[in-house]
Amino acid sequence: MAERRKNEEMKNPKTSLDAAEPESDMPDSDKPRTRDSMGKPATPQKPDARLGREVQARIGQQLRAMYDEIVNQGVPQHINDLIRRLSDQD
């Protein structure tokens, strides 16, 4: 259900803001601001602010995946050689 709603949101951001409202489990203070004080959609081009937590989780995963791909390459040979050479110098 939630998955389908997000897809609808992506296709039709203007109407899906209302549809998403009742199921939100975020406390009011954490809710992204999608309406201004006049009750109009404040940022109709940014419906995905509502995706909050899932997007944040994915950002964390992506960040670590990107980083770990490099970490897993280990120490490049020329840097390893440099460190060993410098640490043996008198």
Binding site: E3, R4, K6, N7, E9, M10, K11, P13, Q45, K46, P47, D48, A49, L51, G52, E54, V55, Q56, R58, I59, G60, Q62, L63, R64, A65, M66, Y67, D68, E69, I70, V71, N72, Q73, G74, V75, P76, H78, I79, N80, L82, I83, R84, L86, S87, D88, Q89, D90
Partner: protein, 183 residues
């Protein structure tokens, strides 16, 4: 002066993560490796100023960041060959992360102001505490927290918004990234 092998091993053990941080900052493998090399020269010639028992990774990251700030940041916009080189260096693991999705993430990350970028990487990927990250960046802990928050918000915006009006070939990938899956 010969370096204590235990210290040398601590330096070696930090290099992979230091290099990942450098690549995140530079967006270019060759430049990042130069930066790591320069950091090693600087660190090992000033190894006396490292207090044994303190945080070696934080010490090396601080040196690298200062070098990057002073010399590399101004050249950051020259991303000539960055994407190709980067893709070439990374081995693709389709079971983990789709390549297109991965590149899109990196592109979004590169759009962040560099102070937000580095805060997010230090805390979210390198695994430093907010306190260590603040020490590495020479700012208050609260500043790091606020930079990390702004970085996350901005990334969420960049990654999600891109999917709204785009019906091109990347749309499915963007939908996945935004948490929606394929309809």
């Amino acid at each position: 002066m010969k370096l204590d092998p235990a210290i040398r091993d601590q330096v070696l053990a930090t290099v992979p993560s230091l290099r990942a941080f450098a690549i995140s900052l530079c967006g270019n493998i060759d430049r990042a490796d130069d930066l790591v090399q320069e950091t090693m020269l600087r660190a090992l010639s000033h190894i006396d100023s490292f207090e044994p028992g303190t945080n070696m990774p934080a010490w090396l990251f601080t040196i690298l960041r200062n070098l990057f700030r002073s010399e590399y940041r101004k050249r950051r916009r020259e991303v000539e060959d960055a994407d190709g080189r980067y893709a070439e260096t990374l081995k693709s693991h389709p079971e983990q992360t789709g390549r297109v999705e991965f590149e899109e993430f990196r592109t979004a990350l590169a759009k962040l102001p560099s102070d937000q970028q580095e805060a997010l990487i230090l805390v979210g990927a390198s695994g430093f505490s907010y306190e260590d990250a603040a020490s590495i960046c020479g700012c208050a802990v609260g500043t790091i927290k606020s930079r990390v928050n702004r970085a996350r918000t901005r990334l969420a915006d960049l990654l999600a918004i891109d999917g709204v009006d785009d019906f091109g070939p990347d749309r499915a990938t963007r939908a996945v990234l935004a948490g929606g899956g394929r309809s």
